[in-house]
């Protein structure tokens, strides 16, 4: 049939012609800027102009204690945020998967943090975290946990934790929804067979549900790691990386260097580090995806 429709090569040309507009757009707006970023990282580019400076940006960056601190901080921040998203997301999915009244409403109600523009959602968190008038400080003061107003975003440690919580809030709904979809994809007869054999609800979760959704859990861990690593707006709005750099992650630092000070060269060197790390994540993710797909097609 296909041969009658068009020969293979003609098909190829049509396909390429159809894809060309999108491909060219992506090359111009994403691929070229990526390469240009690499080039700029070897220059001292600023609004005034640019000269090649070799590896200077990289040498300065890697020898600075501050930068090394930022890298470590980024991974600590990521680790807590991703773990919490996965744990809370899994618990949420189990709860919303229970066959009880109202679950379809809860499934919709879980999504707003995911859909709403982050910048707008963070206004709510700014109010919640307000040290004098916010509800969290209020509950703390009334229960005696806090002995006075406490600005959650004003101190190093509490700001670090507060930004993680806000990030978890943004990321959890998506994880929940994906886990839920995976749980519903588990064949029902597995559960019925286990039930007939007398397996408890607990056993069924650990011996059937969990192994069955493991591929999705792994995929989601990687995807959330990538998105968390990229998380910019949450920290920018809540703390702008402060107080005293305590919430400055790689992305925030890149942005500050590049567009806060218009030191494009230095910013670009940081962006290259971000790029390399992202490519590692993406490589892991795609390799994994290819393996999972292969496994599925073999079954």
């Amino acid at each position: 049939m296909n041969q009658k429709l068009k020969s293979y090569t003609a098909q190829t040309y049509i396909a390429y012609a159809l894809i060309a507009p999108a491909a060219i757009y992506i090359i111009l707006i994403v691929a070229w800027p990526l390469l240009e970023t690499i080039r700029l990282s070897f220059t001292n580019s600023s609004l005034a102009g640019e000269d090649y400076v070799g590896l200077e940006n990289y040498q300065k960056m890697f020898s600075s204690k501050k930068f090394n601190g930022i890298v470590t901080r980024t991974f600590v921040w990521m680790f807590f945020s991703v773990s919490l998203k996965l744990i809370i997301g899994l618990i949420g999915a189990v709860l919303l998967n229970a066959n009880l009244k109202g679950r379809s409403i809860f499934r919709v109600l879980v999504m707003p943090p995911w859909v709403v523009p982050i910048a707008i959602g963070m206004l709510g968190w700014l109010w919640l975290y307000n040290g004098y008038f916010g509800i969290i400080a209020g509950v703390g003061m009334r229960t005696g946990i806090l002995d006075g107003p406490f600005g959650f975003l004003a101190y190093k440690q509490s700001a670090f934790i507060s930004t993680i919580i806000a990030d978890v809030w943004v990321g959890t709904p998506m994880v929940t929804v994906f886990f839920l979809a995976a749980m519903q994809g588990v064949p029902r007869d597995l559960y019925e067979a286990a039930y007939c054999d007398g397996a408890s609800r607990w056993d069924r979760f650990f011996k059937i549900t969990l192994p069955q959704i493991t591929p999705v859990i792994i995929t989601m861990s990687l995807l959330s790691a990538i998105w968390t690593f990229n998380s910019f707006e949450i920290i920018w709005i809540l703390t702008e990386g402060g107080p005293r750099g305590s919430t400055t992650t790689l992305i925030i630092d890149t942005y500050k260097q590049a567009l806060g000070n218009y030191k494009f060269g230095r910013g670009a060197a940081r962006a290259v580090v971000v790029m390399i790390l992202l490519m590692l994540f993406a490589g892991f993710y795609l390799a994994l995806l290819a393996r999972i797909n292969k496994k599925i097609s073999h079954e």
Binding site: P112, I120, L123, W127, A137, P149, A181, Y255, A268, Y285
Partner: protein
Amino acid sequence: MNKYNPFEKILIYFGIFVFMTFILLPFIEMFYASLRPLDHLFRSPYQFYSDDLSFWAYQEMWNTVPMLGRYIFNSFFLASCVAILTLIFVIPAAYAYARFKFPAKNTSLYILLAINMFSGAVILIPLYKLLRTLGLLNSYQSMIIPGVAFLIPTAIWLLKSYFEKIPIDLEEAAFVDGASRVQILRHIIAPLSTPGLVVVGIYAFIGAYAQQFLFAITFNQKKEYMPIPTGLYEFIGYQSVKWNEMMAAALVGMLPVLLLFVFLQKYIVEGLTAGAVKN
């Protein structure tokens, strides 16, 4: 086997309650704050109860930030432009991926996925310089152009799966009957793929609406082009923040995407999870 005893039921509902509190507390608190008079909000420690709730802030906010209406319009305008442009680029590409075999098909699909993993922050510098050279900084275009690029990959994947659901037999039958490609496109593909196009268009709209902040703070300084996510921060510029009005404006600003999403959540979630969750 899906029966729960009362104790289990209570436990699950309690769990759901705690979980939902975490998810919804910011929204509830925003809404509550928007209804309370400012002097009630400015009491420390926090007062849980106000007796004179009103929608006053929803009227007053337009006076406090006179450009608010313009910001909301800008957000709509920007998101609509981005969504329409995304569709224009994505429809032919998705159709090609769904219907044709060609070299590098799978590789390029995976490259698209990989693009999704780069945040805009990595390429901001060259984009900033490019837009500056083209004289496009501080314009609608400066926010539309990068916005489209980051929506194309997912939109292609989503729309491709919709096109794949249209049985190829229909097209082949029409072809045998002597229909031209254009006719096939107009009379078979277009009507059958309308639901898919609507979903992808709305996905792009929501995505564009959500991602405005980064591009807006980086590429645009002009108030008249500001979208609502950045415009809202004007409430902070005053001597004391008018929290009730800011929360009211924030809720109004997020309402359009929330409504769209509630109506179409089933389709969007189905489409997005289909890629990651194979049955």
